[in-house]
């Protein structure tokens, strides 16, 4: 395995680490993984999980890039009028451009945890190079059973006096209770305009599935209010076409940031197993030029990316 730091992007402002499998271990599949930031944590990921994943993937012959979006970690911000999502899309596409320029690989599996899952979701819809999308604790959609399970589990662990107070408060609030099947942002208490509705989310995933994108959704044991039983995905989306090809897991024993060593092993092994399943599967659609807000700017970014990636190969210090 070989790892090296890279700089790329419109202003050479993005910093990442490219992990390449050793010669002779490269898989025959044409696929690389893109690992995204989790919140404001820099590219190594919470608990260094992106680094651990990159190295395990390299052992099975798969290249990967972990990098920082503009303004996060070691990447600089850029001047411009793009909002956060637009800039993140540009950054992620610049990342794929760089990997493609360095390795020739044109298919990508995007691995997103939390906010990374959200960014990956948006990227997959605009860039046909995305052949796989893993969303860990991404958007979650509830059912009535979600609420009942939540209430039951809370009841079991709450002192009875506290329960009585909460029941009284719930009765008072129940006049304005939200209906079941509401979309819930994992970042906010209620729905917001950045969170797709259930129908929008389903339509997006149906579109990705039709394009042949491999989809993997995982929910942890940290989202009690939003996701708390194994069949929840099926209960919400059971009639949607994408469900047939969707890989999905509910891991109540794994927390949102994979804190324990056992949680990390589960997350890493499952991710690598999923990658192994798709690495040699060609995407049915022909890979065409990705869509961007401004195609001419994307071409210019690509040219600057190639130049920056070459310049980033700083000489290693000689052995003393």
């Amino acid at each position: 395995m070989a790892e090296r730091p890279v700089q790329f992007g419109s202003d050479g402002h993005l910093v990442g680490v490219l992990s390449l499998p050793a010669e002779g271990r490269r898989s025959r599949g044409d696929l690389a993984c893109l690992m995204l930031n989790v919140g404001v944590t820099h590219r190594i990921g919470p608990r260094r999980v992106n680094v651990k994943l990159a190295r395990q993937l390299a052992e099975q012959g798969v290249a990967s890039l972990r990098f920082d979006l503009s303004g996060i970690g070691d990447s600089d911000s850029v001047r411009g009028r793009l909002n956060f999502r637009e800039q993140a899309l540009r950054d992620m596409q610049a990342a794929m451009d760089m990997v493609e320029a360095e390795t020739g690989i044109r298919r990508f599996a995007v691995i997103g945890i939390c906010s990374g899952a959200v960014n990956g979701y948006w990227l997959a819809q605009v860039d046909p190079r995305v052949a796989g999308l893993m969303m860990f604790d991404g958007f979650a959609y509830t059912t009535l059973k979600t609420r009942l399970v939540h209430d039951w589990l809370r009841l079991r662990t709450t002192p009875w006096r506290t329960v009585l107070q909460k029941v009284k408060g719930r009765l008072i609030r129940s006049m304005g209770a939200a209906p079941a099947n509401q979309q819930v942002s994992i970042f906010n208490v209620g729905p917001d305009e950045a969170t797709p509705t259930r129908a929008e989310f389903a339509a997006a995933l149906n579109g990705l599935a039709q394009r042949g994108v491999a989809l993997y959704m995982i929910y942890s044991g940290s989202l009690l209010l939003h996701f708390n039983y194994a069949a929840q995905t099926h209960d919400v989306f059971g009639h949607e076409p994408f469900i047939a090809g969707l890989r999905h897991d509910y891991w109540p024993q794994v927390d949102h940031l994979a804190t324990s060593q056992a949680s990390q092993r589960q997350l890493l092994d499952a991710t690598c197993d999923w990658i192994r399943s798709i690495v040699s599967t060609p995407t049915p659609s022909a890979i065409s030029t990705p869509s961007t807000p401004d195609r001419s700017e994307h071409a210019a970014d690509t040219a600057r990316t190639r130049s920056s990636a070459s310049a980033a190969r700083a000489p290693r210090a000689a052995r003393p």
Binding site: E3, V6, V40, R48, L223, D255, Q261
Partner: protein
């Protein structure tokens, strides 16, 4: 700013070199010795901002990840204090190679401060560094115990349904949760080194200059500083600072990523050596 790799081929280290603009050699060079594990992730932004400010003031700065941490080579379980001390020395040599500073300061925080203090005990280093240590760990046993407790607290905060077995194990099994801390494996070697880490093992080389930033309420650190001052073999300056940085907090929740008072204190202390 330039990401780079340095060190031996079988012990590759990742670093970020911040150069002053306009480019220059000589002047002050700074090596930043980060905390360990979750604290390193928590304080990543703080030390990036510190490095940028120092570079803007004319210093070359090298931030880096110890072996077995961050983007450097090695698994978690390969990390241990003696190796990390050698990594600090390797970073020092890399900074001398690429910046030719006239003077070097090592800025270490938390366990990174302790590692820097031990690394600086090597009196064969070319251009021996001055040391700025922020909240150093001077009692390794207490630090190990604090990490055990924090690991369980993190589990309890992270899961929606708390397993009472975690707290029970913590309270009744002194060997529980010694091999991992908030997402990072701790090898038996590291555990043994931490258990042996104490004030006596952190005596700087004679004639060193050390600035210590710590809360006046941090009794173990204050006792260590007083001991050094009484021995009078080292030039020690204590800087009292009450700051809002919670080294172990989740970096997204209710705790300033870059507390201004901590940043200013480190800039002022490092700047006093710029000459």
């Amino acid at each position: 700013m330039r990401p780079l790799q340095f060190g031996d081929e079988d012990r590759s280290l990742f670093g970020i070199h911040h150069s002053p603009e306009p480019a220059q050699t000589g002047g002050l060079g700074v090596v930043i010795c980060a905390p360990f594990g979750h604290e390193a992730i928590r304080s990543h932004r703080l030390f990036r901002v510190l490095a940028e400010r120092l570079a803007r003031a004319g210093s070359h700065v090298l931030r880096f990840d110890y072996y077995g941490t961050g983007d450097s080579g090695g698994d978690d379980a390969e990390g241990e204090l003696a190796g990390w001390a050698r990594d600090v020395q390797s970073a020092h040599r890399e900074l001398l190679r690429c910046a030719a500073p006239g003077q070097v300061v090592w800025i270490g925080a938390r366990l990174g401060a302790s590692v820097a203090l031990q690394a600086a005990q090597d009196d064969t280093l070319a251009l021996p560094p001055k040391l700025l240590v922020f909240d150093p760990i001077v009692d390794g046993k207490a630090y190990l115990e604090a990490m055990r407790v924090l690991h369980v607290e993190t589990l309890e905060e992270s899961y929606s349904v708390i397993d009472p077995a975690w707290r029970h194990r913590l309270d009744h099994d002194p060997q529980a949760y010694l091999d991992e801390a908030i997402g990072f494996a701790i090898s038996p070697a590291l555990r043994g080194q931490l258990a042996a880490l104490d004030a006596a093992s952190l005596t700087p080389a004679p004639h060193s200059a050390v600035n210590v930033i710590a809360s006046p309420d941090d009794e173990p650190v204050q006792r260590w500083v007083q001991g050094l001052q009484a021995a009078n073999a080292v030039d020690v300056d204590a800087i009292a600072l009450q700051h809002s940085l919670v080294w172990t907090s989740d970096d997204s929740l209710n705790s300033a990523l870059v507390p201004a008072e901590a940043l200013q204190a480190m800039l002022a202390a490092a700047g006093s050596w710029r000459g």
